[in-house]
């Protein structure tokens, strides 16, 4: 199995959705100065488990195969 563009889009959507509303100011600050390091910090700060979100996507695809 390979990661498709659709899976990537879904993961992005879920990452953004997992950030609570209280993260708005930090998210806007990241948008103005985007970096992977900053993104990691943002997700960590709000306890968003990106690895688990990605695994869930892979498992879903695997179950649909």
């Amino acid at each position: 199995m390979e990661a498709t563009e659709e899976m990537t889009q879904e993961v992005i959507k879920e990452l953004v959705s997992a950030l609570p509303e209280t993260a708005e100011a930090d998210f806007q600050a990241w948008l103005e100065n985007p970096s992977e390091e900053g993104l990691n910090e943002l997700l960590t700060k709000y306890n968003v488990d990106a690895k688990k979100i990605a695994r869930a996507k892979v498992i879903k695809e695997k179950e649909n195969e």
């Binding site: 990537t8 992005i12 879920e14 948008l31 970096s35 990106a50 996507k57 879903k60």
Partner: protein
């Protein structure tokens, strides 16, 4: 309509996804602020590119993690070690977490010494992938001195299978396969993994 709006945009679709047991967040569940964030992201080329790279890397890592976990599932055929004359070689202690990492020759039978046998199930020689499993509880440590077959660590099959599924390492079907095996052979209820490929943190006494 942008890429994000296309995904799960109707209430009916969300209900269908729920009925199929999928945990995807449908667009109908997104708050206004989340929708705005997605639109802002899509209109910011640099941020979107950064997010895409991050998502692709995370997905690549997830693919490896799931493949590694599946190989662990494949080696879950268990034996009634506790009922054999070798039971004295089994230790029990509590662990706080475990980490499984890549290595060849994951096998389904801790007492088979032949590395070329059909019990060899996977080869992760070239992978640096590690998966952290938040398992807390009793772990068995079985040193197969009798067969000169190394050491193995064991976990309660049903609990371990459900945990791997809850953490999205294995499919429901793979978890059920372990549980069904346990039901088929009562008392034969341990998932064994070669100790060489597992690091564990013992709980404080």
């Amino acid at each position: 309509m942008n890429n994000f709006e296309e995904v799960g945009n109707s209430y009916n679709e969300k209900e269908t996804m729920r009925a199929r047991g999928e945990n995807t967040i449908a667009a109908a569940e997104l708050s206004e602020i989340q929708q705005r964030r997605l639109e802002a992201l899509e209109s910011n080329e640099v941020a979107l590119g950064t997010m895409k790279n991050f998502a692709k890397k995370t997905l690549a890592s997830a693919l490896l993690a799931v493949a590694l976990a599946s190989s662990v599932v494949a080696c879950s055929k268990t034996e009634e070690i506790m009922n054999t004359e070798q039971a004295e070689n089994v230790l029990r202690f509590q662990v706080e977490s475990i980490e499984i990492h890549g290595g060849p020759n994951l096998r389904n039978e801790p007492r088979v010494a032949d590395r070329d046998s059909q019990n060899t199930l996977a080869d992760f020689d070239d992978s640096e992938q590690r998966i952290m499993v938040p398992y807390q509880g009793e772990m068995l440590f079985y040193d197969n001195d009798f067969d000169k077959n190394g050491a193995w660590v064991g976990f309660p099959a049903e609990e371990f299978a459900n945990l791997l599924h809850d953490e999205s390492f294995i499919t429901r079907g793979e978890a059920d396969k372990i549980i069904r095996h346990e039901e088929k052979k009562p008392g034969d209820e341990t998932v064994w993994i070669n100790r060489d490929y597992v690091d564990f943190k013992k709980a404080e006494d």
